[in-house]
Symmetry: C2
């Protein structure tokens, strides 16, 4: 498989409240080993390594996580870690990383992928990246990967796609009609029913020239700031904090007109809550997904995560139990989304770390 | 308040499965501090100390717990710890302790009390002990304390009392018609309805001469064994293990005819499960009884016991959560009785210690 001059930027920021108490601000989701003995970050890197090699993998993260990321990925070149002095949402971080790639390979095509997602079909994903890179090399476009919705999820963005634009044999690329961030339930249900909607996966492919052209058009101040830092990297710590934080979706994808979306059937899951882990983990005879020392009496359909300490349960149904050295979480599975709010409250009070 | 020549034997054996994982075989219930900063054992001793002083308090326990008891009660005379080499149920342990008291005070009246019960009215309890001791000094009888049933509890023994026999001003003593161990629910309901039934508290008062006379009548082999050990304490380790284990209720109280029962309105609770603790502990605004670092979202009527480690809960109702260094227990409050079975299973497998 050839990937031309494709570089991959792995987005590895994030606060880590959804998997509290296993994740914390000092060790957010991408550093957890939820599905095998590798961290999600290491999995994300190893997933693209066969396609581009270490020399064309870049890690975008913030200052607080830089050391952890460098330790986790010790065989990546030191200068491939692009460190935001402060977090400024997704678009500035992506722009900073793209500028750093531009410095070594201005004609590069870049894939932006997430450090904390699950992709079951790894080789299918690499094929798709290679095909998308070929498309981006030919066309001045910003490509996003869309996931076919399986439920009316209200926590995702939706992409309404239009006419068929191009195909690369194994896949089709479509024009984009509209982005809709986190719709309410009835709208999400309508989207799923209607059929011309995809979930926004948060992964992108573009030629650097296309990206910076679009940035100049829609976020000229951000482009100026990033160019200024590229001219003199010593300006980073002074200039970057003054950048206004904006998401890639709101700041660029919803404004640009040369967007293409590629439906990606790659076994994707954003691992957005413990419920995602529940969906992936193997169940025992009682329907429990257990990674812990567990002894249960009449305990069913529970997700139980712990360590050596014994977790004993009586008469539990569809609960999440997460037991770490620092804290313990007990929550019904159907309320897994509320963990984020609780963790935010706890972390704000300075407890639970 | 005078207590004549009353001695108090505190029964401090027991396996500790009901309060697992807080209690363990190495630290059963009587060594836990469930209601204040004192262990239940220390509370039991301090409860009777104003009445009899350290010189007339005796601790009956088994070899595995002897060191722990001596450490907990360092100001009691060393020879007042009566140690069973092996546990043989309640009657042999009581007989052994009574023989040890007999060696220093053959005319003594003895009160046998439990190390692991809660008694809210401590001065009322002392008055009752003193009055019962006076009664036992006058009459050749075996006195037991009965608790007025507040629910059809199936885990206790019931005492059916008959005609009024004696009174000591502040209390009445009744003859005993029948003992019934752990009735089924319909029988327990009938007992509570009928009204002439009391719970068996497991606390007794008698003159030593009355006790040993009854023992000679109903358990002559046990009396021989205990007398033999009293004659030569070196025989303890050889003779005691050959004694057949039997409970005080089955072995003596159900057979003797000179039993009196005194209704004891002393705020008694046998602290038989986490539900007892729930009934005693103060509740917060959400109805939770918490002794832990706890952060809850929509969490009500739960008993939460832990330490420094944060316990975070979402959407829980009427649960018991017990978090110790070694193990974690999660169980609906209404199933607290099942903890014993689970703990027994766990301890048998050698986990959870």
């Amino acid at each position: 498989m050839s990937a031309g001059n494709l570089h991959v930027i792995v987005l590895a920021g994030g606060k880590g409240t959804r998997f509290w108490p296993l994740s914390t601000p000092n060790k957010p989701k991408q550093f957890l080993s939820l599905f095998d003995d590798r961290s999600l970050l290491l999995s994300a890197v190893e997933r693209v390594r066969p396609l581009v090699g270490n020399d064309r993998i870049w890690i975008s993260t913030d200052g607080e996580l830089a050391d952890l990321a460098r330790t986790e990925l010790a065989d990546l070149p030191h200068e491939h870690f692009v460190i935001e002095p402060v977090a400024r949402n997704t678009l500035p971080g992506i722009a900073l990383a793209c500028a750093q790639v531009r410095a070594v390979d201005p004609a590069a095509v870049v894939a932006v992928v997430c450090a904390d997602h699950l992709i079951r079909d790894e080789s299918g994903f690499r094929s798709l990246l290679a095909s998308a890179a070929a498309l981006a090399a030919r066309h001045d476009c910003l490509i996003t990967f869309g996931i076919r919705p399986t439920r009316p999820e209200t926590g995702y963005g939706y992409i309404q796609f239009s006419e068929h634009t191009d195909d690369e044999g194994s896949f089709a690329a479509y024009g984009v009609q509209r982005f809709t961030e986190k719709p309410d339930l009835s709208l999400a249900e309508a989207f799923v029913r209607e059929g011309h909607y995809l979930w926004n996966s948060g992964m992108f492919v573009w030629r650097l020239t296309s990206f910076f052209d679009a940035l100049g058009l829609h976020q000229p101040e951000l482009l100026d700031a990033v160019d200024s830092i590229a001219d003199d990297p010593a300006r980073l710590s002074e200039t970057y904090p003054r950048i206004v934080g904006v998401s890639i979706d709101y700041g660029l994808m919803e404004k640009a007109t040369n967007i293409l979306v590629i439906p990606a059937e790659i076994g994707w899951d954003d691992v957005g809550s413990w419920e995602s882990v529940w969906n992936v983990w193997q169940r025992d005879d009682d329907g429990n997904a257990v990674s812990a020392t567990h002894e249960g009496l009449d305990t069913r359909d529970c997700l139980i995560f712990g360590g050596k300490r014994l977790i004993a349960t009586v008469g539990l149904d569809s609960m999440i139990i997460v037991d770490t050295d620092d804290a313990l979480l007990i929550c019904p599975r159907e309320r897994a989304q509320e963990v984020r709010a609780l963790a935010t409250r706890i972390l704000a009070r300075g407890k639970g770390e």
